[in-house]
Amino acid sequence: MKGFRNAEGKPILLAMVKAIQDNKAYLGEVDGLIGDGDHGMNMNKGFTMFGQRIADRAVSFTQGLDELGTLLFTEIGGSMGPIYGTVFTDMAEAGEDSDIITLEVLASMLAAGLDGLYDIVDARVGDKTLVDTLFPAKDALAQAAVEGKSLAAALEDMKAAALIGRDSTKDMVAKFGRSSRLGERSRGVLDAGATSCYIILTAMADGILALKGA
């Protein structure tokens, strides 16, 4: 597996939508523990709207990411509008000229998403946010590319790294966002954004892996 046709990437987007829908209640619960409980609801509303808008249309992977990011940014708001809005639109921009999304392209897309995020938030690894998932995931893809791994193997690496990253937030004390006021009381539970980011990246990876002939 060298890559997949950008133009044929719609099933990946649909897999991402379904994963968020399936986890709406779970994300709400995670956010409820130390946040305000709306993370599942907001993500579900945005992703579901996106799923409906592309339902009867052909969209490429990067077109879809751009639309999703723009929708979150312009219509959903919250913290997720700017955050995932930036991540997805910047990923899309980095990949939009590629007909084939290879491992290298995907790695550069994730790097661009994280870069964009760094422009708008001060959170870095260790601050108990979605950065703790996104950063190691990006690194895993980049590392796999250096090592010349197949896209499929790289995606497995990414999922594993994202999982470790997500789980690492459990022992952290939140420094940004709603939970940051809790200090020590924020320890012991996952971060909501790190959790949704893991769900999205996993669905994306599995969506790519499921593409016929990819």
Partner: protein, 331 residues
């Protein structure tokens, strides 16, 4: 969930439709369905904008009105409005003298406002901001910039809106609103949780017989869970958090705002206020004016927030100015 809803995802849009129909003497729609503006914005004034998540009635949209806010960006329940909504609110409020965006310190709002301010600048709309951070329990005093904005925002809007009505410049309005919030401290006590319509069950719990001191406006955990107390004890606890933090001292004149969190009977707020009034008076703090009622709520939570603002002669004059909105009417 015993609530009055159609589809939970539509509740904000439907609420706005009902709100605009009811208050057409005070507010008007804009091209952006999530932006509400004042029905009659006086020419030649600095525009006052705020915005935030829904579920806090009368906040935020209930404070659009005469000598208060000129336009408001409306978010989903407990969720920041989009940057585009903030931008559209700036556009609606700007009358050539610039816009003061007076909002609360939440990371979603911070990000969306920041982006909207950038976009507005490109259009030639000058926007300056004041970020309310009156909630004492949300961070220690050496991290003021981490504190949440809670019911003190109402007093910030009151002061900012009144200052704009005097014909002041943007910098003067910003300075007054900043002074207002800098002199304001709040604390909340939560007695029952709340349920987001789209979630359908409470996302946190407060054990019967206990109370959550320092709870946030979205049910964010507070600093301490302790056994449920009498009104007198709650008042003491709230005063003990708020007074030493500024600090408020004997001889100070203050405004007190005691807001219910939604489901607490207003009768009980007056019982609590009577105790707060007594405690402050005992400390030699003079109460110039008080507001008691549901001014900034959290859906159907039970509990209350105490907000105290220290006055100087400018703030006093601005607080006393008449105003007319759904949430606050004063002559």
């Amino acid at each position: 969930m015993q609530r009055i809803l159609n589809h939970p995802d539509q509740v904000v849009d439907e609420m706005l439709k009902g709100f605009v129909k009811t208050h057409s003497d005070i507010v008007a729609t804009t091209d952006n369905p999530r932006v509400i503006k004042g029905a009659n914005l006086p020419a030649d004034q600095v525009g006052i904008v705020t915005g935030g998540g829904s579920g806090h009635k009368p906040a935020f949209v209930g404070y659009v009105g005469e000598n208060l806010c000129d336009a408001v960006a409306v978010g989903e329940i407990f969720s920041s409005p989009t940057a585009v909504a903030f931008l559209d609110a700036f556009r609606a409020a700007d009358r050539g003298k610039g816009v003061a965006c007076l909002y609360g310190n939440y990371s979603g709002d911070n990000m969306n406002v920041k982006m909207a301010v950038k976009m507005a600048k490109k259009e030639g709309i000058q926007v300056k901001t004041v970020v309310a951070n009156d909630d004492v329990p949300s961070a220690p005093k050496d991290q003021l910039n981490k504190r949440r904005g809670v019911a003190g925002e109402v007093l910030m809007w009151k002061v900012g809106g009144a200052k704009a009505a005097t014909g002041a410049s943007l910098d003067e309005v910003i300075a007054a609103a900043q002074k207002a919030i800098d002199n304001t401290r709040s604390v909340g006590i939560g007695l029952t949780p709340c349920t987001l319509p789209a979630v359908g069950h409470p996302n946190f719990s407060i054990e019967e017989g206990t109370m959550e001191v320092g709870i946030g406006h979205h049910g964010e955990p507070g600093i301490e869970v302790c056994p449920l107390e009498t009104a007198a004890q709650m008042a003491q606890r709230m005063v003990d958090v708020v007074v030493p933090d500024l600090p408020f001292a004997s001889g100070d004149e203050v405004v007190v705002l005691l807001s219910g969190l939604g489901a607490t009977p207003v009768m009980e707020l007056y019982v609590l206020y009577d105790e707060v009034d007594r405690l402050l008076t005992e400390k030699g703090i003079g109460i110039h004016r008080s507001y008691v009622g549901d001014y900034f709520t959290s859906l159907e939570m039970m509990g209350a927030t105490l907000t105290v603002m220290k006055l100087d002669s400018e703030l006093k004059e601005l607080v006393d100015m008449p105003c007319y909105s759904m949430g606050l009417k004063q002559k």
